[in-house]
């Protein structure tokens, strides 16, 4: 056991929760891969391979902290405490889903948990997190807001506008860039300059707030870095950016064609964040083989139960389509 292993900075209890959450996301997405191609309609975007980021960051947040997410939002929702039944319910488009079935995967939200919505516009959620930060400041609370987005979204003008405003208004907003190497069907090297590609967090410098690059597949590093960033923001020091380098194991959407060489994907499978954590926890005596099985069984039961629940949930009445257009009319 390495005495300086940063894993020792994290309590055993926290680690177990972190491990379980990562397994939960993995199982949720793996089952979803089958369901979306058989029983469900629409599109889902897999978070497999990136679990360490959502779990690492959200484990350092409070329930009343806000997050915004993207189209690849299942992981963030689960990491923030999302209920699997209501999540599958939403993906099946049923009334017991988070949004009564109206939004499906792309706009899943739970305001009680501070999840201000997954978003179908890649950078759409970023200014919303900034706005939440503005509101925090107005109301003088010590909440923080986190914007999760990909390196692809970081190239949209909206990111620039939002990051600049967060910085000049000194807002408690943490920008988590999930550099998963693929912008849909385009390699990230194609859309970033060589000078920047290996550490996109340098962009934070342009706005005057700190940015760091970390290994997005090491959940302990993510967790510890997130804690620092959150403390920074919570104490009124303004925004922080963490560029988490990871890899999108699945295709852009579940069932999409895969133009990547198998060898590349294989390389990254070897760096699986869950395996990574598992090994380290076992090495440190924080987890036994039996406990691993126990956790996996427990999560599996929860996932399957949630799927059953969703399957049994009724379809919405057609009239629901015309409700909620306005909160009040006229």
């Amino acid at each position: 056991m390495n005495a300086t292993d940063p894993i020792m900075e994290v309590t055993g209890e926290d680690l177990l929760k972190i491990y379980e959450n990562m397994v939960k996301i993995r199982m949720f997405e793996t089952r979803e891969y089958d369901l979306i191609q058989t029983e469900q309609e629409g599109f889902a975007h897999s978070y497999v391979g990136e679990e360490a980021i959502a779990v690492g960051v959200c484990s350092a947040l409070r329930k009343d902290d806000y997050i915004t997410s993207t189209h690849r939002g299942h992981g963030h929702m689960i990491a923030k405490g999302g209920d699997l039944k209501q999540m599958y319910g939403e993906l099946y488009g049923r009334v017991d889903g988070y949004c009564q079935g109206k939004s499906g995967s792309l706009h899943i939200a739970d305001f009680e948990l501070g999840v201000l919505g997954a978003n179908g516009i890649v950078s759409g959620g970023i200014p919303i997190a900034v706005g939440a930060g503005y509101s925090i400041q107005m109301r003088k609370t010590d909440q923080v807001a986190v914007a999760f987005f990909g390196e692809g979204a970081m190239n949209q003008g909206l990111f620039h506008e939002a990051a600049n405003m967060a910085s000049v208004f000194h807002l408690p907003v943490i920008f988590i860039v999930e550099v998963n190497h693929w912008q849909c069907g385009v390699r990230y090297e194609t859309v970033y300059h060589d000078e920047v590609i290996n550490d996109v967090s340098v962009r934070a410098k342009a706005y005057g707030f700190p940015g760091v690059k970390i290994d997005g597949n090491d959940v302990v590093e993510v967790f510890n870095t997130a804690k620092k960033a959150i403390a920074h923001a919570r104490s009124g020091k303004g925004p922080f950016m963490i560029a988490c380098y990871t890899y999108r194991i699945g295709t852009h959407f579940m069932g999409d064609i895969d133009i990547r060489p198998e060898s590349e994907v294989e390389e990254w499978r070897k760096k699986d964040p869950i395996n990574n954590l598992e090994k380290r926890m076992v090495r440190s005596g924080l987890l036994s083989g039996a406990e691993i099985e126990e956790i996996k069984d427990k999560v599996n039961a929860e996932v399957e139960g949630a799927i059953e629940f969703a399957r049994m949930s009724p379809e919405p009445e057609p009239e629901l389509a015309l409700k909620h257009v306005y909160a009040k009319f006229p």
């Binding site: 516009i121 200014p127 939440a132 930060g133 109301r139 405003m165 009319f329």
Partner: protein, 324 residues
């Protein structure tokens, strides 16, 4: 009754509401110390300070996005995008975010923001600073669209818009900012979805919006001397629309002309005409005629701008066509 400038009426609406709600704030570039590109916010900065009258970078899309994020976490926001021509920069936040949240989240939160902007020409501001896009927003369910034509209407409607739980696109007219109107000192508000008969008449109904209301009233005054009785109806809000009052007027006069400053093709006049054709067809004694800017960008010099934008002569021609 006192008369005040159009811009002051708007400023008063914002100030009165901001005094009542400490979490309501105004943002946009130049709204702070500068007092607003059209001097609408004026000295609100002095009263409310830099956080509540917040100058921003030129980042329209993120400004509206920020307003959405703030509004769904407890702080209502007013965004000022001074020229409506800049609104395309903010379309994602308005159309894909603000308009959709209450619906797609099945009512978990609504988005109580007001996007204030100034449309229109007649000031030689040229192609990229004179446009009118209200119909774009009429076409997005989830948004409300308001277009006041007087200071009295502007103040009353803006107070309602600020307190409305839904996103409202509040369209002012830059040429009208210095116009003076009678506005009471006492507090009042005007509900959305309530049209106003600006002039009663019996021979023809003119449905006019924003600055066009004033041109139309001038024409009505002129035609009255010939014994032609023109009724001028100002919808005041396009969504929600006071169909009942408008259709009642059509049933009374049996003739309709719709006047707006936006280009005729694809303009709100088409939407209004279709509503009338569907619901009051058997009350029509003549085809419905629309008056709007010709289908060309708004050019710079007066002689050319006047040729493109609607004039009193155009309105008069249209009225004479239908009352034959």
């Amino acid at each position: 009754m006192r008369t005040i400038e159009f811009r002051q009426a708007i400023r008063e609406a914002m100030s009165e509401e901001m005094r009542k709600d400490p979490t309501l704030f105004l943002l946009g570039y130049d709204v702070g110390e500068y007092g607003g590109e059209f001097r609408v916010s004026g000295d609100m900065f002095k009263e409310f300070g830099p956080r509540r009258v917040q100058d921003t970078p030129i980042s329209e899309n993120a400004e509206v996005g920020l307003a959405v994020g703030a509004a769904i976490t407890g702080c209502k926001a007013i965004v000022e995008i001074p020229f409506m021509d800049f609104i395309p920069m903010a379309m994602d936040a308005i159309v894909n975010q603000a308009a959709k949240f209450h619906y797609t989240f099945a009512g978990q939160r609504s988005v109580p923001i007001v996007i204030r902007t100034a449309q229109g020409g007649y000031i030689r501001a040229a192609e990229q600073h004179s446009q009118c896009f209200e119909n774009w927003f009429v076409n997005v369910p989830g948004l409300k669209v308001v277009m006041p034509s007087t200071g009295y209407d502007a103040k009353g409607l803006l107070k309602t818009a600020i307190n409305d739980p839904d996103p409202v696109v509040f369209i002012e007219h830059k040429y009208m900012y210095p116009f003076k109107f009678e506005v009471p000192e006492e507090e009042y508000s005007i509900p959305l979805g309530s049209a106003d008969i600006k002039r009663e008449g019996s021979d023809v109904t003119i449905i006019a919006t924003s600055y066009m209301v004033h041109l139309t009233l001038n024409v009505a005054e002129k035609l009255a001397k010939e014994g032609i009785s023109v009724e001028v109806v100002d919808p005041r809000s396009l969504v929600p629309l006071d169909e009942e009052k408008i259709l009642d007027s059509v049933k009374k006069t049996n003739k309709v002309v719709i006047v707006h400053e936006a280009h005729v093709r694809g303009g709100w006049g088409g939407e209004m005409a279709a509503v009338i054709a569907e619901k009051a067809f058997y009350d029509l004694d003549a085809p419905i005629v629309r008056v709007g800017a010709k289908n060309a960008p708004i050019p710079f010099p007066k002689v050319l701008e006047e040729h493109v934008l609607p004039s009193e002569a155009d309105i008069e021609t249209a009225i004479r066509q239908v009352i034959v």
